[in-house]
Point group: C2
Chain length 306, copies 2
């Protein structure tokens, strides 16, 4: 029988997607759910680890892009799991570069991210950081494919080579994007994401939108809000796209028609936040909502100037 993996189910990627991935590799996913818009806390995870005595690993999507939820206790959860001998696996795809993340200090055994989110390079590259324990596991197990074999990459990289043709143009693009991150400063970038996301939420709440993630559980990189009663998600998404050239997404799965999702990461600045809020104000007016002109911008700029 496969290894049991505790997963913190806070939405599509940490729920259905993670579960299917674990199952494809022969593992047994155990879902730890929390009320929508929140994430399991340190206490929740500690209790789960103690009640399932035969867990092998904990799998966490730090910033859940389908709901905008951040696992706020990530540090304490990973350190507790590590103390209990579990492998800690963190998907930091929409987190790395946008929110605090100390891979080694927080005892994260395997941390994966990608080029296209807060690092603001083109999509097409992903990377993993692995602990000694993961290296041992990789050598202990028979690889299940050659292309995604960690052992294969480790062996080639010891000669400063790669096993398969890499996308050189994307590597140059990522290198430039990382230079830009260093110029901005990681702490400044993290602060920028935090401030802009707060401005977004403040502005949207002034317009009658309801944040999906609760306070304290809001990822700074993905804004997820329910529109005011009677306003259709599809209408907002299509009008933003067609009339303002602003691309936002509807929800995923059951949330399809319930929320809009706005990316707040990478190259975003206060300009995009203000322009998007203004566009949404106009759309609400056109749809007949009673909107006080400029209110969302005022509320947003209260944060931006703070």
């Amino acid at each position: 029988d496969g290894d049991k993996v505790l997963l913190l189910d806070t939405g599509f990627f940490s729920g259905i997607r993670a579960s299917r991935t674990i199952e494809a590799y022969g593992g047994i996913p155990i879902h730890l759910k929390s009320p929508i818009g929140s994430a399991p806390t340190y206490d929740d995870v500690k209790a789960a680890i103690d009640s399932y005595r035969d867990l092998k690993a904990v799998f966490i999507v730090y910033s859940e892009t389908s709901t905008g939820v951040l696992v706020k206790d990530l540090k304490d959860i990973c350190m507790e799991a590590h103390r209990k001998g579990l492998i800690t696996i963190v998907d930091a795809v929409s987190a790395a570069g946008g929110v605090e993340l100390m891979v080694d200090d927080w005892c994260i055994d395997l941390c994966a991210s990608a080029s296209q989110k807060c690092l603001a390079a083109p999509p097409g590259l992903s990377f993993v950081s692995v602990s000694e324990r993961i290296v041992e596991e990789a050598y202990r197990r028979k690889p299940r494919s050659l292309y995604l074999s960690l052992r294969e990459y480790l062996e080639y990289s010891s000669n400063r080579e790669v096993p398969f043709t890499p996308s050189i143009p994307l590597i140059y693009a990522l290198s430039e994007a990382l230079d830009m991150l260093i110029e901005e400063g990681l702490e400044n970038r993290i602060a920028r994401h935090r401030i802009l996301s707060e401005a977004f939420y403040n502005g949207l709440e002034a317009l009658g939108f309801k944040p999906l993630p609760r306070l304290g559980y809001r990822s700074p990189t993905l804004i997820a809000v329910e529109p005011p009663r009677g306003v259709s998600v599809d209408r907002i998404v299509s009008m933003l796209r067609d009339e303002y050239r602003v691309l936002v997404a509807h929800g995923m799965g059951e949330l399809r028609d319930k929320i809009i999702r706005i990316g707040c990461m990478g190259a975003i600045s206060s300009m995009e936040v203000l322009y998007t809020l203004q566009a949404i104000e106009h759309i609400l007016s056109k749809l007949g909502c009673n909107v006080e002109p400029g209110l969302s911008l005022t509320e947003a700029s209260r944060i931006l100037s703070g």
Copy 2:
């Protein structure tokens, strides 16, 4: 026990690499070797299929980049394997767009290629063509990973979607490269690769290089030659790189110090062929070989003007 897969072992990619990939997926590779510089023929493969009565599939690297060998009987081999009920799998990475390849007419069930070789787009994308039989197999089997699950891609593509973030910039680049292929014309492009490779071999033979692939087994996309006696592979490779900014490769594995490999694909023209030959002439002179100036160029241009 796993499925038995007959593989036509003509070098590193069709030998060790293919074998390890098949093993990683639980299959049993059966190597059909041929003397170096040649490939199993239709008769060889037919005899092998008849002697191993329990084969599931045949795996063929059409153009073997480690040796410059082309599986010249690909069409007849695939049609025979298909008649016998086997699945035919063709790696056309350095073949698609550079040599004749009729996926459906030749009964190829699964054909894989990539963006960066004869299609002349940047590296980073690969694609597969699959027959109905492969689709059935994909649905009959439990996926072994989610990221490389064919079923996952098939299901999303039925809604014109993809399961994972694609590299949009590379897709635009590939689209442009395919437009350029259509402008040139596929037949013209195939003829170009054939003519330029013959020019390369003619020129290099005039300089005392010995082709690794035998006549009739030469891939038009990768030139593989042994240097004249006493001339070191490393010397040629490093002088071409440092003094002429021409990148060629040494051999792989056992052939490391025995051959040089010259890419002859994609955006290559007679200019690159002539410049490379001239550079090699100069290098041989510098190394003290007795070279008749211009001879290789004359021999190459005999083909180019033909």
